[in-house]
Every structure is written in structure tokens, then in C-alpha cells.
Symmetry: C2
Subunit: 191 residues, 2 copies
């Protein structure tokens, strides 16, 4: 946002830690609302993540099936993962693609950014496209179980419509993929 919209802005007065779990870190901020009244905001502190749209030479895209415990379903997703401390975002995209699918890519393009859960998490997800894919060995983390498969963009778009794909990061990537493939949106590819 280039405009400031100061009449909407809250300011932080203090912060307390609510939870240091094995996986989740939750804080509560005490804020001043735009009218000066006090309020509290609770949210997950997240390091940020990347998602990759991997384009095969035959026109298909690489996807994953993974059981996601909070929603109790096997979900269809683009490869994604959290950024390690100090890790470069493109390096993270390369690492997650290689670890989860085995693919390396000859060219990468940064597409955009999304915020998946603006009401209660700091998480951002950086969106990358990869092409010139070369298959290799994947190296899943201990306790990570996921299937890798390929689908045409037409199939994936149909699944977004019929409810087989409901993961919001994958739906948001589909918006990018559809407009890139139609030629409406261009990407800046780099080796």
C-alpha cells in the first residue's frame, strides 16, 4: 500500500507471549485503536513461507497430495514450505521443491506475495514459478508423508471450481497460473 490510510491504523502499546508450543508461537498485543480506545490482538508469529508453481516441459504442473491434520483431509497443493532463519526466499523455493518433489529447475520467476490469514497470523507466502524441471531424488523430513503427481492446468482449474482444490494458497496460485498461461501476466524468468 502506497497510501497510508492513517484513520484506520492501530498502534501497538505492549506485547505478551501467550504460547511457545513445539510448532506454534502465539502473542497478544495491546493496541490503541484509531480512536485511541484500547484493544487486544492475538496472533501466530510465523517466519513466512514460499509456494512454487512447477511447470513441466509437457505443459503439466507438479502438485502434491498431503494429509493436513487441522482440516482432517488429504489436500491437493502446490509445493510449499517455511523459510529457514536467514534463508533467501528463492533458495527456500529451490530447497522446498527439491526436498518435497525431487525436481530442480533451470529457470525461476518471482510472481507475487500473499497473506493467507491476516486476522491472526503474521504469515506471508512468496509465490514462485519454476520451469525447465529435471527430476531427481526427493528427501522428505522425518514424519513427512506426501504424494507427488502432475496435472494439466485445465484439470487443476476444474478442481478449483468443483471443490477438489480448496487450499487458498493453491487457489491464489491458480489465479497467477491462469493469467500467465493466457499471456495476460508476464513473468521475469531468470536462470
Amino acid at each position: 500500500m502506497t497510501e497510508r490510510h492513517l484513520h484506520l491504523v492501530e498502534t501497538t502499546v505492549s506485547q505478551e507471549e501467550l504460547l511457545r508450543g513445539r510448532f506454534l508461537h502465539v502473542v497478544r498485543d495491546h493496541v490503541a485503536l484509531p480512536d485511541g480506545q484500547p484493544a487486544t490482538r492475538e496472533y501466530v508469529v510465523h517466519p513466512g513461507a514460499v509456494v512454487v508453481v512447477p511447470l513441466l516441459d509437457d505443459g503439466r504442473v507438479v502438485l502434491e497430495r498431503q494429509h493436513r491434520h487441522p482440516v482432517g483431509q488429504v489436500m491437493i497443493e502446490f509445493p510449499a514450505g517455511k523459510i529457514d532463519p536467514g534463508e533467501d526466499r528463492r533458495a527456500c523455493a529451490e530447497r522446498e521443491l527439491r526436498e518435497e518433489t525431487g525436481y530442480t529447475a533451470r529457470e525461476w520467476a518471482h510472481a507475487g506475495l500473499m497473506h493467507p490469514v491476516i486476522a491472526y497470523s503474521t504469515e506471508f507466502i512468496d509465490i514462485w514459478f519454476a520451469r525447465g524441471l529435471v527430476a531427481g531424488e526427493r528427501s522428505l523430513d522425518a514424519g513427512e508423508f506426501l504424494d507427488v503427481f502432475a496435472a494439466t492446468p485445465t484439470e487443476l482449474l476444474q478442481w478449483c471450481r468443483d471443490g477438489r482444490v480448496t487450499d487458498a494458497k493453491t487457489l491464489s496460485c491458480m489465479l497467477w497460473l491462469q493469467n500467465v498461461l493466457s499471456g495476460s501476466w508476464s513473468l521475469n524468468w531468470r536462470p
Copy 2:
């Protein structure tokens, strides 16, 4: 998902409560992985939400600007909100649109469903379209500050591309809007 993919599925062994905040409820599940090994999963328990794509008679859509504390930015979003206990999803969509923007709608169509944060929240967001909009008085909750404005779908699509819109639920709704407006995806409108 109609297929089961049982080789990916985790099963819950027990659950403990980690946090009962003023706003966030967090639990930790002890699960058995597909290979039988134990693991833990921490996540936010959420009642679910709705998002509304409100179509004005002049072709523009109704949007909101709201400061979102966890991401520290004023965000452009479609109207959305949490489902009250026992509340019907369409009734929730009507209520949130009216409270946040003042608009009521003559016709509604259910589009789809998204899961914004499958790694650490049970949240789903039900996607609705509204048309035949009639302006009225809005009734914001105490401490709720947001601006309502209108934009053409072409403007909104450009903002999704250039990074002015990064909210994943709004990006996902843009996928729906683009395909509905092109005639590729049809909606089932009801009074």
C-alpha cells in the same frame, strides 16, 4: 476428496488444550503417522467464516480497506467474517455484508469453499456472490474500523498482479470472479 489415500492419513490419539485466549483457541493433538510413529500437531480451532463478492449493478465490486494488525498493513479485502454458533452460512454472508458495508442483496449464489491455513488452523471460508445490491446503513462492531469502496474487476485484477492485493481469500475470490465474468464458470443464483 472422494478418494481416501489411506497411505497418507494420520489418526488422532489424544488432544490437549494449549491456549484459551480472548480470541484464539489453540490445541495440540497427539497423532499416529501413516507408518504408526507418533507426532504432535498444534493448530487454531476456528468456527469457520464466509467471504462475499458483492457485484454492483454498474459492474463494479464492493471492497473494504482494513488495518490488519498481525501483518501491520491496511489491506484491501472482500467483506468477510466469522460464522456465529449455529448460524446458517448464507445468513452469515447476508449479515456480514450488511454490517460491514450497509448493502443488502436481492440475489445470492454459493460459489465454493477455501481453507486459508491448512497447516495450523481448522478455518474454512465459504465463498458467496451477491448481486442486486441496495445501499443502507452499516453497523460496525465496537472497535471495528474499515472503509468501504468500489472498484472495477479490471482494477482489482491489476491490484492482484501488482501486489496491492495480497490477502489470499481475496486472491482466491478473484479466481472465481474472473472465471464467472468470462462465462467459463456459472453460478446458481437464488433470491
